[in-house]
Amino acid sequence: MNRRAANGADVTTGASAPPLQKTTSSSPGRSPWISYALKRGGGVAATFVVAVIMTFLIVQLIPGDPAVSAAGQNANAERIEQVRQELGLADPLWTQFANYVGGLFRGDLGTSFSLNAPVSQAVFSRLPFTAGLAFLSLIVVLVVAVPLGMMVGIFTRNGRRPWLGSIFGYSTAFFSAVPAYVLATVLVLVFSVWLRVLPPAYSPGNLAAALVLPCVALSIASICAIARIVRRETAVVLEQDYMRTARGWRVSPLRMYMKYALPNLLTTTLTLSGIILIGMLGGAISVELVFNWPGLGFGIVKAVSMKDYPLIQGIVLVLAMLGALLTLLVDVILAIIDPRIRA
C-alpha cells in the first residue's frame, strides 16, 4: 500500500505540506539544509511583512474617521485633533507607513491610549504569559495525544476491539466539539467552585497551580483532534510493507512501534497538527479571559473594547510572529525526523 496519507496532507495543508513521495537522491554538493532554511526563513519573513502591512491597515480601514472612533464617543473636537496627531493620521499615507515601519525597527510600537505607556512595554510584559501558556500546552498536547492515538491505533488495528474504537471516536469527537472557553468555565466550576482544589484565576504567588486549568482548557480539544489523526496514521503505518519487514526480523513489539512506526506517523501527524496548534493561539484569547490571565489574548480583548489601536497593532503583530515561529518550529522538527522534506 502506498502512502495514501500524502494526498490528504496535500489537500488540507497545501503547499506547506512536505512532499512525502519518494525522491531520488538529493542534489550533491550543497547541503539540503541550506536551501531548506532559506525556504522556511523566507516564509517566516513573508508572514511577518504581511502582518506589518495588515496591522498598519487596521487603523486605515476603520469606517469613518479613525480619530473620532479612537477618541471615543464623548470626545470634543480638541481631543479628536489630539488623537489624530498622536496616531499620525494627518500625514500622507506613505509617510504614515514609513513612520510605522521605522518605529518597528527602533522597537517603538507607539503609545497606548488606555495605558498611557509605550505599547512595546505592555506587549512584552504580557508576552511571557501567552508564550509560556501556549508552549506548555503544545508540549502537553503532543505528549498526551501521540501516545494516546498510537495506543488506540495499535489496539484497534484491523478492526480489533471495535468497542474501544467507538468509545475513542465518540469521546474525542465530543471533546473537540467543546469550545475552549466553555471547557474553561466548566473546569472553574468543578475544580475551583465545587472541589476547591485549584485557583480559578491567575495569581502571581501560585503560578504553577494557576497554570493547570488554563493549560487543560486550551489543550483538550487539540489533544482529541491530534489523537484522532495519530490513530488513523497508526492504522495506515501498521499496514505498510516495511512493518512486515520488521516483523520478519522478529523485532519486539515495543521496538517495532517505537523505532519503526513512530517516526513514520509523526511526519503526517505534525504536518496536519500545525494548523491545530496555531489555532490554540486563537483559543488563548478566550481562555485567558476566563482565568484573568495577564497574557496577550486578554490584552487584545481589552485593547479592542477600549479602541486602543496602537496596542491592538502591537499585540496582533507579536501574536502573528508567535504563530509564524510555532509553524517554523513544527517544520524544523519535521525536517529533523524526515529527511525527505529537506531534499
Binding site: R4, N7, G8, G14, A15, S16, K22, G43, T47, V50, T55, I58, L61, P63, N158, G159, R160, G165, G169, A173, P179, A180, Y181, V182, T185, L189, R228, I229, R232, V236, D241, R244, T245, G248, W249, R250, V251, K259, N264, T267, T268, L272, I275, I276, I278, G279, M280, G282, I285, S286, L289, I300, V301, S305, K307, I312, V316, L319, D338, R340
Partner: protein, 575 residues
C-alpha cells in the same frame, strides 16, 4: 481548527471519485446522529420561542428560581426563563453562524477555483498569499476585523466569515487542481468550454464531497468563534444575546448560581458536536479506509497442528498445509513439500495461486485474518505451528520481499535496519554488526557500502535496495532464505543483476532457498527442484532438469513453459 477535514487524511482516488456520483452519500451512524441532532436543535430553537414569546425577555418577580416544572432551567436575576433565553440565543447563534459560513464558503470557493484559471504568475502569487493568510490564527484575524468594524451581530458575521475565507480558498484551489488535471476537464478545455461553465459543470460537482466535509467544519469553527467573540465581549452586545453572550452573563454568578451557565454550555456543545459528527460522517463516507476500520474484527493469524509431528532429515517439511480465511474459504488447499539442506526449491504459479501464502505461513507472517493448519510445518527442529522464540525465528529464517521500494522503513537509515537482526538477535555490538554487513554488502557488489549504510532508502535505487536486502538476509547466516518474487518489481536489467546474486548463492551453497516466482524461465535456471502451484493446490513437482527437457506431465506446467518467449536456448533464465 479545521479539525474534521484535517483528519480526513486520504482523498478518494480518481477512479473511486469518478465511478461514484458526487451525490452518492454513504450513511453511517455518526452522520445520522449529527443530522438528527442538528435538525432537532434548529427546529426547537426556532419554534419554541415563537410559541412562548415573552418568557425570554419578560422581567418578572420570580428571580433566581431553581429549576422547576414551569422553569426547567430556573430563572435569572431578572426573573427571565433560562431555557427560553438559551433557545433564543441558540437561534441567533445559528443564524449568525450560517451567515458566516456562507461568506467563507462562497468567497473561498470562488477565489480557490478562479485562481486555477488565472495566468501562472498571478496564480502563484495568489497561492502564496493564501498560504500566508492561513498561517495566522483565524480567531486572531476575526478579532482584528471585529476591532475595525466595531461590535455587533452583522460585524461579527462579517469578521468570522472573512477570517474563514483563506482556508476554504486553499482547499478549493487544491481540489480544483486535482480535478483540473483529469482527462474530461482537459478535453473540455481543449474544445473551448467557457470558464464559468467549466467551474459549474465540471469542477464543482467533482469537488462536492470534500467541500461538504470542509463546510461542516467551517460551520463548527464558526459557531465556536462567534460565541468566543461574543463571550469575550467583542461580538453581540446587550440587549441582544447569543450563546457566547449568555455564557459570559452567567460567568460572574458562577459561584452562587452555577446553573445559569448550563443552558448556554449545553447548546454550544450540542450544535458544534452535531456539526462535527456530520463532518466526520461525510468524511468517513468518502474514505473507504475508514469503513474498513470499523469492519468486523480480524483475529490474529492462527496456527494449528492437525496431527503428530513426523521426523525427517530435510530442512523444511510441509505436510498437508492449508491456509484459510475466517469464512472458512481455503486459499491453500493441503499442500505438502520439503526443502532439503542447501537446496534451492522454486515455487511457481500465477498470482493468487497461494505460493506467497505458503511461504508466509511457513514464516509465521500470515496477514491477520488468515489461519494455517498442517500435519507438519517444520523448519530444522522447530515446528512453525507453535510458538517459536523470536531469536530462533530471526536466525533460522530470513526473508527477501518483492518490492524493495516499500520493504525498507523510509524514516530510518539503511545501516540501522540492515543490522537489526545482528544486533538484536545475534548480540553483536553496533560496530561489529556494521563491519559484518559491510563485508556482506561488498560481496553482493555494492560499490560504496559505507555510503549505503548512511543513506535512507529513498536515496537508493531499487537494485541497490534489493541487494542490501539480500545482504541482510545472508549476513544472519540463516538455515533458510525465503525469497518472495524478489525480482518482480525491478527493471529488466536490474532483474538480471539480482538473479546473478541468487546464482552466487546457488554456487556457494551455504543456505537453503525457497524461491518464489511467477516466471518459470527464471526458476528453471536457478532452482534444483520446482513445485508448481495453481489455485492453492500443488499441481506438479519436477526437477530443474526435467523442466529444461520439458519432461512435465501436467498440462498447466506445459502451458507455463510454452508461455515463456525465448530467442535461443542460451538466454534462458537471464530474461
Amino acid at each position: 481548527m479545521t479539525k474534521t477535514v484535517l483528519e480526513k487524511t486520504s482523498e478518494p482516488t480518481v477512479e473511486q471519485r469518478e465511478t461514484q456520483a458526487p451525490s452518492n452519500l454513504r450513511w453511517n451512524p455518526g452522520l445520522v446522529v449529527g443530522i438528527v441532532l442538528f435538525t432537532a436543535v434548529a427546529v426547537v430553537s426556532w419554534t419554541v420561542p415563537l410559541i412562548n414569546v415573552d418568557a425570554a425577555s419578560q422581567l418578572s418577580k420570580d428571580t433566581n428560581l431553581p429549576p422547576s416544572g414551569s422553569h426547567w432551567l430556573g430563572t435569572d436575576l431578572f426573573g427571565r426563563d433560562m431555557l427560553a433565553r438559551a433557545l433564543v440565543a441558540t437561534k441567533l447563534s445559528l443564524v449568525m453562524t450560517l451567515g458566516a459560513t456562507a461568506i467563507s464558503v462562497i468567497f473561498g470557493v470562488l477565489i480557490g477555483t478562479t485562481i486555477r484559471f488565472a495566468p501562472t504568475r498571478l496564480r502563484e502569487f495568489s497561492l502564496r498569499a493564501i498560504e500566508i493568510a492561513v498561517s495566522y490564527p483565524s480567531l486572531l484575524v476575526a478579532v482584528v476585523i471585529a476591532a475595525v468594524l466595531g461590535a455587533g451581530p452583522w460585524q461579527l458575521v462579517l469578521a468570522i466569515g472573512l477570517s474563514g475565507i483563506p482556508s476554504m480558498a486553499r482547499l478549493a484551489s487544491t481540489l480544483a487542481a486535482t480535478v483540473y488535471e483529469r482527462d474530461y476537464v482537459t478535453t473540455a478545455r481543449l474544445v473551448g468550454v467557457p470558464k464559468r461553465s467549466m467551474i459549474w459543470r465540471h469542477l464543482l460537482p467533482n469537488m462536492a464531497e470534500p467541500l461538504l466535509v470542509q463546510i461542516a467544519s467551517v460551520f463548527a469553527f464558526g459557531l465556536i468563534a462567534i460565541s468566543a467573540l461574543s463571550f469575550v465581549g467583542l461580538g453581540v452586545q446587550t440587549p441582544d444575546y447569543d450563546l457566547g453572550r449568555l455564557l459570559a452573563d452567567g460567568l460572574p454568578a458562577i459561584y452562587t448560581r452555577p446553573l445559569e451557565i448550563a443552558g448556554s454550555t449545553v447548546m454550544i456543545v450540542l450544535v458544534s458536536l452535531s456539526a462535527m459528527l456530520i463532518g466526520d460522517g461525510l468524511a468517513a463516507g468518502a474514505d473507504p479506509r475508514l469503513q474498513s476500520l470499523s469492519r468486523a474484527a480480524a483475529k490474529k493469524p492462527a496456527y494449528a497442528p492437525v496431527a503428530g509431528i513426523d521426523e525427517s532429515s530435510s530442512l523444511v517439511s510441509v505436510c498437508n498445509l492449508t491456509v484459510s480465511k475466517q469464512s472458512g474459504e481455503q486459499l491453500v488447499k493441503g499442500i505438502s513439500f520439503e526443502v532439503r539442506r542447501n537446496e534451492i526449491l522454486g515455487v511457481v504459479g500465477e498470482s493468487g495461486s497461494g505460493k506467497s501464502l505458503t511461504a508466509m505461513a511457513l514464516a509465521q507472517l500470515l496477514p491477520e485474518g488468515l489461519s494455517a493448519a498442517a500435519d507438519e510445518l517444520r523448519i530444522a527442529d522447530h515446528s512453525m505451528l507453535g510458538a517459536v522464540p523470536n531469536r530462533t525465528l530471526a536466525t533460522t529464517l530470513a526473508l527477501i520481499y518483492q518490492d524493495p521500494g516499500t520493504t525498507f522503513n523510509p524514516a530510518l537509515r539503511m545501516g540501522s535496519q540492515l543490522t537489526e537482526v545482528l544486533r538484536v538477535h545475534r548480540g553483536f555490538s553496533a560496530t561489529k554488526a556494521r563491519q559484518l554487513i559491510l563485508a556482506m554488502l561488498e560481496r553482493v557488489r555494492i560499490t560504496d557500502p559505507q555510503r549505503l549504510l548512511d543513506s535512507r532508502p529513498h536515496e537508493l535505487s531499487g537494485g541497490m535496495r534489493q541487494r542490501a536486502m539480500i545482504a541482510s538476509a545472508l549476513v544472519v547466516n540463516p538455515a533458510l532464505i525465503i525469497a518472495d518474487e524478489p525480482t518482480t518489481a525491478l527493471d529488466v536489467t536490474v532483474q538480471a543483476e539480482i538473479l546473478r546474486e541468487f546464482k552466487r548463492i546457488r554456487l556457494e551453497r551455504t543456505t537453503s532457498l525457497l524461491f518464489i516466482s511467477h516466471d518459470i524461465g527464471v526458476v528453471e535456471a536457478l532452482c534444483d527442484r520446482v513445485i508448481i502451484m495453481k489455485d492453492g493446490e500443488l499441481v506438479e513437482e519436477v526437477t530443474a532438469d526435467q523442466l529444461r527437457k520439458k519432461h512435465v506431465k501436467h498440462p498447466y506446467t506445459r502451458m507455463l513453459l510454452d508461455a515463456v518467449p525465448r530467442l535461443d536456448e542460451r538466454e534462458r533464465g537471464e530474461k
